[in-house]
């Protein structure tokens, strides 16, 4: 496989052909914020938080879906990028009903972490306060659409790793939402195996275990690497890795 050389933030790196900019940056510990991306799942480029600047291209491109090319000159952190990342997190905050203080995922939430990371101190967009539903029909778990950021991690993990395909995305634009069993109650779906993978990969408090209270929902994502490694390499690593 051909080797590509590229420049990131003024330093030269080499990468395998077909690798994403994000993969190269992660290998070399160059920080880029992500939300929809999760190692072990397919890449969708939905959240646009990982946008980077590439010399000669007027558009900002997501690092997770953009493949490396020979001679690319990339910037991963500029005032413009930081501004756009802050805007993205602010828009996510304003279009849902995110109330950290009483959320089950408070202090264990990737959206909350991102807000700190990108320096979001206030949201200048008007909050939409959408009238979203909470689906508590499942015996073990709850889906609170108020806290969903449509990252589709749940859709992907259920389809790609568990193979049950309980979740889908329905609707368009602001009416877009995650649905279970083609639009019914989660508890009524016949495909759910109750494995809980969707709950663990959800970055916010949208999916959680029934019975948890404020701040109690810790998401343990180690299982994903464990399963992927076991399947691909026939190696059974520690889940804490």
């Amino acid at each position: 496989m051909a080797v590509k050389t590229l420049t990131i933030n003024g330093d030269q790196y080499s990468a395998q052909e077909g690798e994403s900019i994000l993969a190269v940056c992660r290998q070399h510990h160059i920080p880029i914020p992500t939300l929809c991306h999760l190692e072990g799942l397919s890449t969708v480029g939905a959240c646009r938080l990982c946008v980077v600047q590439i010399e000669g291209n007027p558009r900002l491109l997501p690092a997770c879906t953009t493949k490396v090319e020979e001679g690319m000159i990339i910037q991963t952190s500029t005032p413009k990028l930081e501004k756009y990342r802050r805007m993205i997190v602010a828009l996510l905050a304003s279009e849902g009903n995110h109330v950290c203080a009483v959320c089950v995922a408070n202090n264990h939430c990737e959206l909350q972490d991102l807000a700190y990371q990108v320096g979001l101190v206030r949201v200048r967009y008007p909050y939409l306060y959408p009238d979203k539903k909470l689906d508590a029909t499942h015996r073990e778990y709850v889906m609170d659409h108020n806290r969903c950021v449509l990252c589709t991690r749940c859709v992907r993990v259920c389809d790609e790793v568990e193979g049950a395909h309980v979740w889908d995305v329905a609707g368009r634009g602001i009416n877009c939402e995650i649905v279970s069993g083609l639009g019914g109650n989660w508890g009524d779906t016949q495909t759910c195996t109750e494995c809980g993978k969707c709950v663990m990969v959800c970055p916010t408090g949208a999916l959680f275990e029934k019975g948890v209270t404020v701040s109690e929902m810790e998401k343990k994502k180690g299982f994903l690497k464990y399963i992927i490694t076991a399947r691909q390499k026939k190696e059974w690593i520690s889940q804490s890795e």
């Binding site: 909470l134 508890g187 209270t213």
Partner: protein
Amino acid sequence: MSTITISPVTRIEGHAKITIHLNAKGEVEDARFHVNEFRGFEKFCEGRLLWEMPGLTSRICGICPASHLITSAKAGDDILSIGIPETAEKLRRLLTLAQWIQSHALSFFHLSSPDFLLGFEADPALRNIFGLMAHDKEFARRGIRLRKFGQQIIEFLGGRRIHTPWSVAGGVREPFTREERDTLLSWYPEVTETALMALETVKRINEKFTKELSCFGNFHSLFVGMVGSKGELEYYGGNLRIMDSAGNIIADNIDPRDYHKHFGEASESWSYLKFPYYKPIGYPKGIYRVGPLARLNICDHIETPLAEQERRSFKALAPMTEAVNNSFYFHYARLIELLFAVERTEQLLCDPAILGTHVRSKAEINALEGVGASEAPRGTLFHHYWVNENGVMQKVNMLIATAQNNMAMNRTVRQIAMQFVEGKSIPEPVLNRIEAGIRCFDPCLSCSTHAAGQMPMEVLLYDVNGALIERRST
């Protein structure tokens, strides 16, 4: 008719105003206590999960979040239909008493004592906790430390002083450690001495303010609160007892689940605060009071020695044929409860069961309706929830202590206005007396309207034609 308005009312928790209406002769005809804040917790909790309710409802208030937390968790226990572990109940009791200590200390030392120790005529700029520090540093310091002790217990139990989510349906989230227990025990005997010192102070106040004593909410009403199975002062469990102004028990051993059979809630267009009343008598004659004055009246005894001794002195304030009907004695009753809370927490801290590690029971939804009740610092608090089979809230009703004192606070304001307001203006000391009448009840308007915020108050004075003569803020 003329009207005087006091707005905002200060040194209380929430937003309120008072209007005083004068007749054609310029005499006080009526006075009203208006609560002008609104948040609507009962409505927006609909659609949320039962398990979230303690964390959500504790946000109603920054002064007594622990009371909402405990009461909500108890309503959750009722819906899960489970008993909680012994350690969990003792820890919840400890939290409830810690709430009493910090809230009662706040009410007396920080909010009310400046009026009594500096005088109603003192400069308003100095008539506060800072003025108190300048006047009697040691007294103020001890009061602040006593409140800190209560807050310290809450922090050890719940991880933080305000809005801890520690108590949950089925018990509590974390056990208590030996180190924390030992640290708290090291606060004794200082806290007991402070509670006794406060009691001596309030007894001197009772003797000194004779003019205020006669009109600060001195009227007949019912008294409502919880008592234990042996008639003792109760704060966490127990059943309801209702006493009339002559000291007769007119209803006893009422399961708190049946509160709605006994108490109704009326509304008036001029206040966001509802007017609860005793149903068998009806509105507005079914006026009742809750809180320290009611609890001290209705209980047969207190289980701790020093507080029991004080309770007997308290009962001696009224003739044998009457309950203690004077709202001025709320302060005295509150400080007796403070002493009880200090004594009882020491007993609980010395109980080995409090260090148990099994603190949480788990269950699914086993009932579609549940009621939680406890004695918050300001009186009996009820949370009543209806859920569907998945635990999603369908309806919420909360009956708050301050709301239950609403009619009594209105009557107190009227009584003080009639005694002190003369002519078409209100001198500042009179304004302050009207507010002080309200402070006897230690109202928390954030809770009672399920709303939050600071609590300035204003007084408006209207003439016989309804024209505003004067607006006074404090």
